[in-house]
Structure formats: C-alpha cells, structure tokens
Symmetry: C2
Subunit: 342 residues, 2 copies
DNA sequence: TTGTAGGCGTTATCAG
DNA sequence: CTGATAACGCCTACAA
C-alpha cells in the first residue's frame, strides 16, 4: 500500500488537487456528488493527510504547549486534564513538558516546544527567565502564566491570588479562635506561588494578631509527615496547623493519627487545594478550594480564542473559596503543649 | 522583525541554503569559521527554524502520542511523567489525549493524534476497537499497549501481569492467615486490567481456599469510602479487605478510622499501586508495588529505539512486588463480625 | 463548481 | 567544504 497524497487522489478521481483539498477541509463549494466521489476514493486508498505539509502551508499546527514542574502532583495533573479536555474540544492538541523541579530547565523546555511547533504556551507561575520571555516576544508566541493572577513580565496571568488565599486561610483560623498556628508549606525556592501564599499568611497574621510559625517541607505526603513529626516532637504550643497544600496536610493528618492526636478535637488542621480525597478524609478536611479545573478551561479558551479569532488574552483572576468541613474547630482552652510520643 | 528562513540567512551570509541547513543540523562537514558566521547571523536576525517544514522534508515529527483514560489519577500521571521525561531525553515530545472514561472516544483521539503527526502511540490496556487497530497498521504507525503484558491484537505490550498481581495479593493475605476477605475494585466495564486482577484474585482464592466477596466502586477515595460504608454496615465477617487500587484503599482506611476500626488490629487492609502516600499513611499501607515509572521509561525507550534505529518493539513483562508495611497482620480468632456504627 | 500554478521552509542529492 | 536544485504534501489565490 503506497503512500497516496492529494496528488494521487486527484489522479484516481480525475479531479484536481484543489478539489481534493476542498473536501479535505469541508469547504462548502464542492458538489455533493464530487465530494462523495473523493471521500470514497480516500477510503479505498486509505488516504491520510500529512499534518506537516498542512502545517507548512497554513502555518498553523493546532498545537499548544504547557510546561509544568511535574505531572506527579495531582494539582498539575488536574489542571492539565482540564486544559487538554477543553483544547481537544476545539481541535487543538496539548504537548506537555515538565521541568522536574529544575526551573532552570524551563527555558530549554520552552525552546523544545517551540521547535516542535507549539503555537502558544502555558507556563506555571509568574517567574520566568528574561531569555525565555524575550524568546517568546521575539517569535511572537503568545503565552499565559497560570496559578497566579498577575505578573510583572508583560504576560497575561490566569489564576488565583495566592496572597489572598494565604491570608484568607489564616483569617479563617483566627475567626474560629486560634491564636497560634503552625504553617507548613512546600519548597519556597523557585516557587513564587508558595512565597505569595506565605506573604498572605503573614499579612493575615499581623492583621489578626495570631502568631504563626513557618516550616518548610517537601511537597508530598512524606514531607507533611516529617514536618508533623518535628512539630509534635517539639513543645508545640499551637492549636492549629495550616498546610499550604493538601498533600502536606494529609501527611500531617497521618502523623497526628499515629500519635493519637485527635483532629479537630485536640488540633485543627486546614489545607489548601481541595484535592480529590479532601472531602472524604477522616475527618473531612477544611481547606481552600482552588479553581483548578476552571483555570484550565479558562486558559484553554483564552488561547484558542486568541489563536482562532485574534482576541487578546486578558488576565483573569479566579476566586478561591474556603470550604469548611470538619478538621477545624474552636480550640480548647489550652493549646496542645506537651510533646507527644509517636 | 520580518520572518527569516534559511533563505534569508543564505543571502545575509552570502552562503547557500545548503550550508545553512548543515550548521542547523550540526553536520560535521562545515568549516568552523563558516559555521560561526552562520551562527552569528542566526542570532542577529533571531532565526527560528520552522518545525513543519523540517517535518515535511524529513517526514519525522519527533512526536509521540499517548492516550490514557485521564490525567486525574496519579497512576496515569506518574506513568506519563516518566514517559515524558525519558522521551525528552531523546528529543521527542509527548502529546497527550484523554478519553475521560469514554473508551469509545479512544478511536477518535487516536485519529487526532495521527492528524497531528504522532509517529508512534502509547495506548492503555489491551482492549481496542478493530477500527483503531486497522487504522494503525494501515498507516504503519507503531503502537504499544501498556499496563498489561500481553495482548491478542498483535500489538506489543509493556507492563505487568494483572492476574498474577491479583493472585499474589490474595495469596499474601491467605498466608498471613486470612480466610475471608472483601475485595473492592474499580469499575470493571471497559477496564480489562481490573478484570484481569479480579480473575487472578479468584484463582488465588480457589487455590488457597479463602473466600472472597467482590464489591465494585468508583476509582477514587470517595468510592473506597462508599464501599467501606456498605461493608462495615453489613455483617462483615471478613478479616481483611483488599483494594485493587490504593486510592480506594485510602477511602477504606478513612472510613475505618471514622468507625474506630483499628487497622491492622481489627481489620487488615491491602492495596495495589503503591502511590506516593502509601508508605506514609497511618498505618503504612501494605500494597502491591506497580513498576509505573519503570514502565514509562521502558515504553519510551522501546519506541525511541524503534523510531531511531528500527529495532522492533518487544513485549515486556515487568515484575510487580508486594511491599509489606503495616496494614496487614494475622487475624484474631474472630472476624470483625458486628456492624459498627459510623 | 472545478482547475492551474506557485509557494510554504527544510532537507537532501548531486555536482563542483 | 560548499552550492544548485529538486523534492516534501498541501493550500490557495486566480482563472476558467
């Protein structure tokens, strides 16, 4: 079965390549019978259009690239899942590149996506190397920063306000009556979102007068466990712990369980993300719901509208909301003050 | 800044397009000085090669497509993360398409990936429509089935033996002394891997004489919780529950915790997957470790070797292993027999 | 409604 | 080591 192109189909049907091309693109100005004839011929020879040729001729690849730190964290996976879904609906494909925790790799990955033909890019966060940014504008490739709602690099941002999120969380805890809370957060280096959340937490702490003690951990359950071990091992005079990520909160929850520290009776626990399991843990986790899926859809739509209709890409600020469940409650008179054995 | 191609560079440097192309592809037969001259010119005009043109000329896109049910389950996300990583190392890009629980969408998605230029495809499981399979061979596109280790459709498979996994799990429970176990598994329709695991469980049950009661749930924590609620609500005369997915096990664990059913003292719990948190839960989950990352690397390497060197793609059977932690132990004299309030 | 012809930006084959 | 030049497969005015 030899490869047949529009050319071969033209011969086979006695038509011209132009007509073949027209039915290929569902042009309206084709005789119904002619179209059928072509369609049949395509079927018989097992015709498959060559995407590269089409791309070359139209200079459109219908491909959008996304670079994220990793796929292994469900927050990114969920986001990209939504993006992919929406993109597919509009005939676009999603190419994914991960930086695997090496932000300095972002520039290279972006370059690879461009060399691949990505028409637009989805970036994570607002921090990007100047070279990367210059490359983008130099080649006129539209891009949008996600998980943040503003940037100072000229790129539009579609996401939420991390500082507001951090502040809202601490304020919630304060309103419930907590005066001393341990905050455990993911790696702060190379992660502007985490830094923003922390700054929000500090702002909220100042405003409400609650005292916070920060603690960094890796961004996984194990990190949460480790942080909790330290915390519970020390003289922990806190009545609540706020995890700036639900995965970390899960680790804290596990460790608390191991030490028979009752949540929320003895210790309140609040997370951030609202992952798949957050509503079903024991106890169900009070957390900040991030509009991950909506963000993905919004990003995809903005990009598609820009590419298809030339609409400009506007920054969008999506609202996050606290979802109260059962892991936070008014603290008892005394804080959890004695070290508790594992 | 007008778009400059190899042509423009040729003019600019007074060289020919051939030479430009040579330095572009790091051909060795180019004078060092000439190369520098070209490189500088490229820099100055901000030259960017056109991937579509290159693809057209070489008929290589360096792109591989993967279609998975969803990115929202970490088992797939982890797999693709490994694939992407390995692929990138060899200069290939990964395009992802999800079926979102509609297996009938697979065929369409595969078509889209082809129209995009994917040179090879990564499929999930061994069940695929005949039309899809025919299309693959018709267009000569290599593909590999994953998460299974054999197929009857002519495609190579790279993965593990799900039946053996199910059997090993139940045997492990049997060896520890369990005689009656509840098995909760994900949706069985359109998921040959789950069906295989179940068949393995049944085989193991027959061989060891343990009695198993199956229960289907959705493939998430909520599903595990729901299954556990039923289970614990009934007169549950089981001493162990085996979840064919760790996410489901997490739901069971949460519900057990809620009902103050001690794991593993009163009830043993075993999972399958070995996710990120499995080693850190309370108690740490005894589970079957699936070689997800290794599978991803293996798939990527096989495909790359095939594409780059023409090696044939061989099926590979990766070993899964039981990792004993602390959620399973010898049952007490009596099974958990009374219904326990929530 | 259909046909003709030129071009999209690279690569690759030959000469030189 | 370098230069012409012909593909690559499809799209798209412009004609008919």
């Amino acid at each position: 079965m030899k490869k047949t192109g529009v050319r071969g189909l033209a011969k086979a049907t006695g038509l011209s390549v132009a007509t073949i091309s027209r039915v290929l693109n569902n042009a309206d100005n084709v005789n119904k019978q002619t179209r059928e004839r072509v369609l049949n011929a395509m079927r018989e020879v097992g015709y498959a259009p060559n995407p590269a040729a089409r791309a070359l001729a139209t200079s459109r690849t219908k491909t959008i690239g996304a670079v994220v730190p990793t796929l292994a964290h469900s927050i990114f996976a969920r986001f990209l899942n939504a993006v992919e879904r929406e993109l597919a609906q509009h005939g676009y494909a999603l190419v994914i590149a991960t930086t695997e925790g090496r932000p300095e790799a972002e520039e290279r990955r972006v370059g690879e996506l461009m060399n691949l033909g990505a028409e637009a890019l989805i970036l994570s966060g607002a921090e990007h190397s100047k070279a990367l940014l210059d490359g983008l504008v130099g080649r006129g490739i539209p891009a949008v920063c996600t998980s943040v709602c503003e940037t100072n690099n000229g790129l539009p941002a579609i996401g939420y306000d991390n500082a507001v999120i951090g502040e809202a969380a601490i304020r919630h805890l304060a309103e419930v009556g907590h005066r001393s809370v341990a905050v455990v957060h993911g790696p702060v280096s190379d992660n502007d979102r985490t830094r923003l959340r922390i700054s929000g937490v500090e702002r909220g702490a100042r405003a409400t007068g609650v005292s916070v003690s920060l603690r960094e951990s890796t961004l996984d359950v194990e990190g949460g466990v480790a942080a909790a071990q330290q915390l519970f091992g020390d003289i922990a005079d806190v009545t609540a712990v706020l995890s700036l990520s639900d995965v970390i909160a899960l680790g804290v929850l596990f460790e608390a369980d191991r030490r028979r520290i009752a949540v929320p009776d003895e210790l309140s626990l609040m997370g951030c993300d609202d992952l798949d399991w957050s509503a079903h843990s024991a106890p169900p986790l009070t957390t900040v719901r991030l509009p991950t899926a909506r963000m993905g859809i919004c990003v995809a739509q903005s990009l598609v509208r820009h590419l298809d209709h030339g609409d400009s890409i506007e920054s969008v600020r999506l609202e996050a909301s606290i979802v109260e469940r059962n892991s936070v409650r008014r603290p008892r008179r005394h804080a959890l003050s004695a070290a508790r054995p594992a």
